[in-house]
Symmetry: C2
Subunit: 420 residues, 2 copies
């Protein structure tokens, strides 16, 4: 459920007409619904209320500061993966004890900054990384909490680029490596080994792979506890799927109902890292039809949004529903030419949607649905295109939460050499 | 040929050690060779000197202002595709009569800005666009030069995302549509229809598809001239391939030798739009090994550069050679585990190279070769990563031509709402 709905054939975001937002702020434009965002956070909180988990929103899904602030205000923590995300977490005053830091390639400076801020824990992905954190913590005279990331070697059904729990991926450790580190933790005097982390991938619709992975983690925990090892935290990651097309993903409640019994009696503080589940359907991408191009074989809606603004269709072959904002008419004609929604960028990979039954004319606004996660956060300036503005809607009011880039922004860090 | 070569097992860019550059400017880092850039421009100029073409460098390949300035200083023009690229062209004072503007989705404002600057011509991709340019030119009381982009329906061997001359793509017009516009040009009183444009794709190694396409264009020109239509310009686009791996692309000279005879006696001003050919091998991407991760099935060099810095491997499955800067030793062992070079980003799609025989240790610098085109220009801030710095080398001297982004740059356009 989200709050982008048609009333009298006009698309609304909460109490604001999408068309009015497009006119007021210009296109291309990202529009977020405050209510959808916070409700999705609450859904997870409610589903898992019996165990009061630390819910760390995955900043990379959508890192806009205002969105982060809303999540922190709702009691959420943040799952960060870089110094830049730590900077954002500080900007929104996220309490450090609600921050977990994952990434296979944390640099020395990033580790140092995170230790200094006093984050809850690092999710550690390899032995060299653990050595490095221990070394830096020692230099800072601190003892830092760590969860080891377990690679459970399970394969969820999703795009290969966002599978992260197979043994062939760069993520986590196999069970033997992980257990040995726990058993030899005296090697890391400035590390407090406190838990196990897993994250098997993204946009996963079914509980099966999670259950399989949690089963494997439980076995490890049992084995380690039998040897006297203390384990206090279990971070089961993120990856809950959302509806883009015809998926029927598990709800937060269904997921919790399957997972909670597995965690019962384990006496573990549980962490969750939802990103897409919270942000995905909280945003749309508004774009204007610049030209309608009919060719003998195809129809193209050429729009002012492009792959630089929303990379998912091009990079993952991702499906996003596309609708016109002032009517939800999809043509019924059987033999009609199907249409591609494409941007102005000079490559065939620049498309937002392919082979759709869609009617629109020059000047119409289109809404690309489900664009709240991995939308703006993956945007670039390819083709020297300025990145779009972002707007947050709260009931009948809208707020700019990121200004559209200017031409000056494009070259602000460049230096034209005079003497060449 | 390029000027990134090993001397005494040390990689140099012209007269500068890659390792020294990495240390001085930090990593990840783009490094460009001035000499390689200008020599590649000169190669094309020389190959086609008998017809003195307008060589419009394709800005999207690498839009760094200093590189653009060097090309303009060498007598080159610019092929632009957006208002942002026009802004760049103005910043480097490119004479307007050397600018051509292509893109399937030029907006009203972009068209107006380009007309006001007095560019040489627009490459027009559709009838609605032509109407629009005519309308805006009329409002500005100007007559503007246009080449119609012909879609020759040829299929070069390259990645599907960068094929642009097949009829199923969004690009150009079929011959009938194109001829009809020429014959009915009285419909566009503010347009001076002056030529034909084609661009069949990118990274094309062989002349065959070009020859086929030029053959088709010649036929159209002959037919139109027989009906009294004046055609003065032929823009044969870009797309010349470069060496990334084991390709043996045609040289500029070989290409010219095949193409020039076709153009003989046509009395046309020829335009070329090379991008990758000029910039591709003029740049490398330097990155540092943060951790070496050995798993039971794989070896990973986790580096501080990632898919946000260099998207080509992830988006196109593109191959880039990767070498260590202080020795060019590729392991000879047959049964050795192959290594992936991966970034810190939390998805499996984040890789720079896969299954390579490569030896390196923590702290070593790696050079990703052939990263001058579609490298920085496609970079993003995904995972809130700051975009890398860019350095130009000129002999023994290096210059920063784009500063590394700061954390502040990441959020500079964002507005944290106080009242929520």
């Amino acid at each position: 459920m989200h709050h982008f709905i048609f009333k009298n054939r006009e698309l609304y975001c909460e109490g604001c007409k999408a068309k009015d937002l497009a006119k007021e702020y210009g296109t291309p434009l990202y529009v977020y619904s405050r209510r959808t965002l916070t409700e999705h956070f609450d859904k997870i909180k409610k589903a898992f209320r019996s165990i009061k988990p630390v819910i760390c929103y995955s900043v990379k899904a959508n890192s806009n500061l205002t969105l982060l602030k809303l999540i922190v205000a709702a009691g959420g923590g943040l799952d960060i993966v870089s110094g830049g995300e730590l900077y954002r977490a500080k900007k929104v005053k996220c309490p450090p004890e609600r921050i977990v830091y994952a990434s296979v390639g944390k640099t020395d400076l990033e580790i140092q900054e995170a230790i200094s801020y006093g984050i809850l824990m690092f999710n550690v992905e390899s032995t060299p990384e653990l050595h490095n954190i221990n070394r830096i913590a020692s230099r800072l005279n601190k003892k830092v909490r760590v969860a080891l990331r377990f690679n459970p070697d399970v394969k969820p059904k999703t795009h290969s680029y966002i599978i992260t729990g197979k043994k062939e991926t760069k993520f986590g450790m196999d069970s033997e490596t992980l257990k040995n580190i726990f058993l030899e933790q005296y090697n890391y005097p400035n590390i407090k080994l406190a838990g196990i982390h897993m994250h098997i991938g993204s946009q996963i619709s079914q509980a099966g792979p999670f259950i399989k992975a949690i089963g494997k983690v439980k076995k490890i925990i049992t084995q380690l506890r039998q040897k006297g090892i203390i384990i206090s935290y279990l971070n089961i990651g993120g990856g809950l799927g959302i509806v883009y097309n015809k998926e029927k993903p598990q709800t937060a409640g269904e997921f919790a109902n399957k997972v909670l019994p597995l965690l019962k009696g384990l006496d573990l503080k549980v962490l969750l890292e939802p990103g897409r589940f919270i942000a995905g359907n909280s945003g749309i991408f508004l774009t204007k039809v610049i030209y309608v191009k009919n060719t003998p074989v195809k129809k193209f809606f050429i729009v002012d949004g492009a792959m630089n603004d929303l990379l998912r269709p091009s990079l993952y072959g991702a499906y996003h529903d596309v609708v016109t904002v002032n009517k939800n008419l999809k043509s019924k004609t059987q033999n009609q030419k199907l249409a591609d929604v494409v941007g102005p960028i000079c490559e065939s990979g620049d498309f937002l949607a392919k082979d759709r039954s869609l009617e629109a004319k020059q000047g119409d606004y289109l809404a690309v649905m489900g664009a709240g996660a991995y939308g703006f956060s993956m945007s670039s300036n390819y083709n020297s295109r300025r990145r779009p503005a972002e707007v947050l809607v709260d009931g009948k009011t809208s707020y700019i939460v990121r200004r559209r880039e200017s031409y000056q922004d494009l070259t602000g860090n460049e230096v034209i050499l005079k003497k060449l």
